[in-house]
């Protein structure tokens, strides 16, 4: 087995025992990047020299008896996490030359624990999309099949782990942007509870929905990464000041007594039959392990796309007002006035999907339409949240598909935004409710495309997700490390 195929936990063990150095591991990932990146296109930028220097530093720290939860582990970051001195584009021309003067809190934490940052990953422009095809600096491809999407918006984050370009990545999830690409690329992805992970230094898309989370090769690595990134941060006023458990203690075999809810609305029309049978198989293995299977209802699931595509654009239209060509980023030249400068900068700097959402959001918040659109959506959001509260009185965890279908060819739906929005129907309400959600590999369809299982639990119960996912992983024994095609 090549070093780049290792899980983070395995690599740590080998480095602790002296069998492997961080430089060897990092070089193995860099060689893998050189080999597959022309097809996979998971990276917007990566810096070999810096990576090797960080790895050397990790090796000498270890030699000096120092340790760290990620000491010597090569990883990569979605390109909307600010990295001091390293270009952070958000996949957009408007930030094409932006060099942040500070690190995001999660980046600080990763560096403090000795992680080796290889580079920054492709994503939909400003995280607005479901396929990463709106990225201005390369579109990732599904490592399992040529010409197929890796998902989005954290498509690069999922593809890099699946292709073996690094051991673990961070992404962000506003409406499914970690879970959906994780599912389509066959890796583990978690969106933590709203408030669990600091978003200081995350370029904001929709502030009441955004969360940062890990994508990894297996469930144990997800728990390890959650241990690193979780916790209260005074610099993010929405981060919640409660204790962070040791997530690795959730990785115990046995689900006896676990109440597994199956939300019937998630198995409706439009669900691919192979996806259905893969999800049903996971439910079956949980049942065989002693879990109690409960039929539950989330009756307002059908409204979540409408709620989301008002609230997220409304917040985005406000958040993206800061991109005006004044303090950083692209500025259009030779404008006649300040307002013209704003307009030309934004019109040239933003892509079509971003403009579309800014327009919807501005409209929904504008005078005369606020009550009918934004307020109405926020009220229905309460109803959706109440559906989840009722469901979690009957069960501990919800099991469902992540997406109605496996990955699809690039270029589909590119002229039909609503059709694309509707593919997100199974992931959006997690963010609207602020609960944690996860995707864990469930198997492959006949064409060899991966299918993920979505798990959702009550606020701050990531431990239940990890325990359930760990048991699904143990029972299925898929044994896949890196995509092969």
């Amino acid at each position: 087995m090549k070093p780049y195929e290792l899980t983070m936990a395995e690599a740590m063990e080998k480095m602790e025992s002296g069998e492997l150095s961080s430089v060897e591991l990092t070089r193995s990932c860099l060689d893998r990047i050189a080999e597959v990146e022309p097809q996979v296109q998971a990276f917007i930028s990566h810096d070999e020299e810096s990576a090797v220097a960080q790895a050397e530093q990790a090796d000498s720290k270890r030699a000096n008896g120092e340790n760290g939860k990620l000491l010597g582990i090569p990883l990569a970051l979605k390109d909307l996490l600010c990295t001091e001195g390293v270009r952070t584009t958000c996949g957009s021309d408007i930030l094409g030359n932006f060099i942040p003067p500070y690190d995001a809190t999660v980046v600080e934490k990763i560096k403090k624990e000795g992680g080796v940052v290889l580079g920054k990953l492709t994503m939909d422009e400003f995280a607005m999309g479901s396929t990463s095809e709106t990225c201005k600096f390369g579109v990732p491809e599904n490592p399992w099949r040529e010409g197929y999407v890796a998902g989005g918006s954290s498509g690069g984050s999922a593809a890099a782990v699946a292709a073996g370009e690094c051991l673990v990545t961070l992404g962000s999830d506003t409406g499914g942007s970690i879970r959906q690409p994780a599912s389509l690329c066959g890796v583990v992805g978690m969106k933590p509870t709203y408030g669990r992970v600091s978003r200081y230094g995350l370029v904001a898309f929709a502030s009441s929905l955004d969360q940062i989370g890990p994508l990894s090769r297996d469930v144990s690595d997800c728990a390890l990464m959650m241990n690193v990134i979780s916790g209260y941060d005074q610099r993010d006023s929405t981060s919640v000041n409660i204790d962070t458990p040791d997530y690795t203690s959730s990785l115990v075999e046995g689900v006896k007594g676990l109440r597994v809810g199956v939300p019937r609305e998630y198995f409706g029309e439009g669900l691919d039959p192979e996806v259905r049978s893969i999800v049903e198989n996971s439910i079956k293995v949980l049942k065989e392990g002693g879990a109690e299977i409960v039929d539950v209802s989330l009756p307002h699931t059908d409204y979540c796309v409408a709620v989301y595509y008002l609230i997220a654009p409304a917040e985005a239209s406000s958040n993206l007002a800061r991109f005006d060509g004044v303090a950083y980023g692209y500025r259009a030249q030779d404008a006649a006035s300040l307002v013209d400068m704003y307009k030309e900068t934004r019109s040239k700097g933003f892509g079509a999907e971003v403009k579309r959402r800014i327009l919807i959001g501005t409209y929904a918040l504008s005078s005369g339409y606020y009550d009918a659109y934004y307020k109405k959506a926020s009220q229905v959001r309460t109803i959706i949240l109440n559906d989840f509260k009722a469901a979690f009185e009957k069960c501990d965890v919800l099991v469902s598909p992540v997406t109605p279908t496996p990955a699809w060819p690039k270029g589909e739906n590119s002229d039909d935004p609503l059709a694309m929005y509707l593919t997100d129907i199974l992931t959006l309400s997690t963010n609207l409710a602020g609960i944690p959600g996860m995707s864990v590999p469930g198997g492959f369809n006949k064409e060899g495309l991966p299918v993920g299982i979505q798990l959702q639990s009550a606020h701050f119960r990531e431990d239940v997700l990890l325990k359930t996912a760990f048991n699904i992983e143990k029972s299925l024994q898929l044994g896949v490390r890196v995509a092969h095609r």
Partner: protein, 94 residues
């Protein structure tokens, strides 16, 4: 029609975006489709339902009123498209 060409132009101005003729035609049609779709929310009675703007009912997050280290000025303007060494420069306003 849920939204007219003139309304799209008005909203684009509010959002400080220019749209060329092709974009305007396309955006008007796409926004109309999306707004027609979200109209399904009117099926639900929300008369006595409080809106949720945040997943947690958080109150204001205060910190102690103490001066912290902030970004040095040269770092803060390092990314500016145009500056004079002390301030951001923009096209003439007055």
């Amino acid at each position: 029609m849920k939204i007219t060409r003139e309304e799209v132009l008005h909203v684009a101005h509010l959002a400080r975006l220019n749209l060329d003729e092709d974009e305007l035609v396309k955006m008007t049609a796409q926004l109309d489709t999306i707004l027609s779709y979200v109209d399904k929310l009117s099926e639900l009675d929300t008369e006595n339902i409080a809106p949720t703007t945040h997943a947690h009912q958080s109150v204001n997050a205060f910190r102690e009123d103490k001066v912290h280290k902030s970004l040095p000025r040269e770092d803060a303007i390092a990314n500016a498209p145009e500056d004079n060494g002390e301030m951001f420069k923009v096209p003439r306003v007055i």
